[in-house]
């Protein structure tokens, strides 16, 4: 299968080059098409494309439809008050977006998280990675007209949401990872329930592979479409699954291990082809690997102990700056915090994976066909609300 895949990629490179050569700038022939924000295939995002026949020759992304000024709002709340609104950009991956914030604040204030707290944190992070990726996969399925792939992930996602609901008390917005650890200990029987869910879920993942990834229609629509070479991927600064699909084995959990991730044994999943299929397949491999990580976390978790370090009521650190990042569902997600010694941050900058990945969109769309637009766009692992912040 791999050999067939790579030869198709070569074909597409040749075809893509021909397209670019044939095109001559003749404005009368071009048709302008505005996609979004009210469009089934765009979400909270708009981009303008210009078409020459069936080929896209120009693309102008226009984000900002959900810009809510998160970074400015951080400046008039204290470090603990910031948590609920900081998780709103990615409510289905909220454990990860608060994870890196907590790490940054802990580094600034100078506190150590208890060992059991670190394990529970990593566990919520992995559970939310599943929740996010399954939602992404569901939307990718419906984008490509595969309704079964909308229904199955949405149904299996609810299992993980149930687990998180019993752990944190909210379906998607947990506000659970806070500076100093996590809010509560795990409920009774959580470990057994999680292991049972993972065992069921791994069976389901095999079925996903059969019905979706080995589907000839999906393969035809994604293989060799939207090629991003290794050099371009590094030059454009993409991250997460998009970077890994282009053959760069970069994962923050491996390269800069935080909390207890250096004790966990896992492989960085990557592919070399760099087309839409690889970008759709790498998150799936990540989900598989994440199941192994969760098993190890549950095995190694200490039986009892503190889950949260004692914090002063209004925590503040010395004047200075700090940057910490984690691997979220969309790639590296970092917080840069500047403090002037008061309980409120002086400046917070959120570096999100979505915004880095969307920078590759014009590069990939120009030269491809209009019909390939959905498979290229959503395979970029993009969540517009997060990118706009």
């Amino acid at each position: 299968m791999a050999g067939v895949h790579e030869s198709k990629v070569d074909e597409a490179i040749e075809m893509g080059m021909q397209v670019v050569k044939e095109y001559t700038a003749d404005d009368d022939r071009l048709m302008t098409l505005s996609v979004g924000p009210q469009h089934p295939g765009s979400g909270h995002f708009r981009f303008t494309i210009k078409l020459d026949g069936d080929y896209i020759v120009y693309c102008d992304p226009d984000p900002g439809y959900v810009h809510r000024g998160e970074e400015k709002m951080c400046e008039y709340r204290n470090f603990i008050q910031n948590i609920p609104h900081l998780e709103r950009p990615v409510i289905h991956d909220s454990a990860n977006i608060t994870y890196s914030y907590s790490l940054a604040v802990e580094q600034l204030v100078g506190i150590e998280v208890p060992r059991r707290g670190q394990f529970i944190r990593a566990l919520t992070s992995e559970l939310d990675r599943q929740v996010y990726t399954l939602y992404w996969l569901a939307i990718y399925g419906i984008f490509l007209g595969h309704s079964t792939m909308f229904m199955w992930p949405t149904a299996d996602r609810e299992l993980f949401i149930d687990l998180l609901d019993s752990l944190t008390g909210a379906r998607v917005t947990h506000a659970f990872n806070i500076p100093g650890g996590v809010r509560n200990d795990v409920p009774e029987g959580f470990k057994e329930k999680t292991l049972r869910h993972i065992a069921y879920y791994e069976k389901r993942l095999k079925e996903y592979e059969d019905i979706f990834y080995n589907n000839p229609l999906l393969r035809q629509r994604t293989e060799g479409v939207g090629l991003l070479t290794k050099e371009d991927a590094i030059k454009l600064g993409v991250t997460g699954s998009v970077l890994r699909a282009s053959g760069v084995p970069f994962d923050v959990r491996k390269s800069e291990p935080y909390d207890i991730y250096n004790e966990i044994d896992f492989k960085v999943q990557y592919m070399r082809t760099g087309d839409s299929f690889a970008r759709a397949y790498v998150p799936f491999l990540d989900m598989k690997e994440s199941c192994n990580i969760m098993r190890q976390l549950l095995d190694k978790m200490p039986e009892s102990g503190e889950v949260r370090a004692k914090l002063q009521p209004n925590p503040k650190g010395p004047a200075g700056e700090t940057y910490r990042r984690v691997e979220s569902g969309r790639g590296a997600l970092g917080y840069y915090i500047v403090s002037d010694g008061t309980p409120r941050p002086y400046r917070v900058k959120i570096s999100v994976g979505s915004f880095r990945n969307i920078l590759a969109l014009p590069h990939l769309l120009v030269g491809s066909k209009l019909a390939d637009m959905p498979s290229i766009y959503w395979a970029l692992n993009y969540w517009p609300v997060e990118a706009d912040r």
């Binding site: 909270h44 439809y65 810009h67 809510r68 000024g69 409510i91 229904m151």
Partner: protein, 171 residues
């Protein structure tokens, strides 16, 4: 007596009364039928304004399945839609688009404000770029509170809207 009845003034009164009775006899069953049709085929616009769209997606998934109530994720044209579910925060860039979408929809049209941000601005009430609720730009029928509302809450909101449509009069 006949002369009295045939007097032009009385005659007009009689005709108008008769027409009232006729209109009532036809209107009530017809209105019921029309409302019944509207209640069970609410088609929402695919317009996502912020993060509540995640829970809207979950509501149309297999566990909650809003299709039971005749609401489908319409992937058709705006001209076939009769419901906007404003899914969360509306900011200054999105507000004109929401109004434009609302204006393009045919009558009758209904609006559900989903989430605290769509009702009052919610968590983002002190942000520089967020509207304090959408009732300033479009009329709202049902408010569904929550941040984000659970899918059950959204379903209850849509059932309230259906009650409202059942009781409404046909013009």
């Amino acid at each position: 007596m006949f002369k009295d009845l045939l007097n032009p003034t009385n005659f007009n009164v009689m005709v108008s009364k008769l027409s009232d009775v006729l209109v009532k006899a036809v209107n009530e069953p017809l209105g019921y039928a029309i409302n019944w049709g509207r209640v069970w085929s609410l088609w929402p616009v695919h317009l996502e304004t912020a993060c509540c769209s995640v829970e809207f997606g979950a509501a149309s998934g297999p566990r909650y399945d809003v299709e039971r109530f005749g609401i489908i994720e319409a992937f058709g044209s705006l001209r076939q839609c009769d419901l906007i579910v404003v899914q969360g925060t509306v900011n200054r860039k999105m507000a004109p688009r929401v109004r434009m979408v609302y204006d393009q929809m045919p009558e009758p049209k209904y609006v559900i404000a989903m989430g605290a941000c769509a009702i009052t601005g919610g968590l983002y009430v002190d942000s520089y770029n967020v509207l304090p609720g959408i009732d300033g730009i479009i009329p709202v029928d049902v408010y569904v509170p929550g941040c984000p509302p659970r899918p059950e809450t959204l379903i209850q909101g849509t059932m309230l809207l259906q009650e409202k449509i059942k009781r409404s009069k046909i013009k």
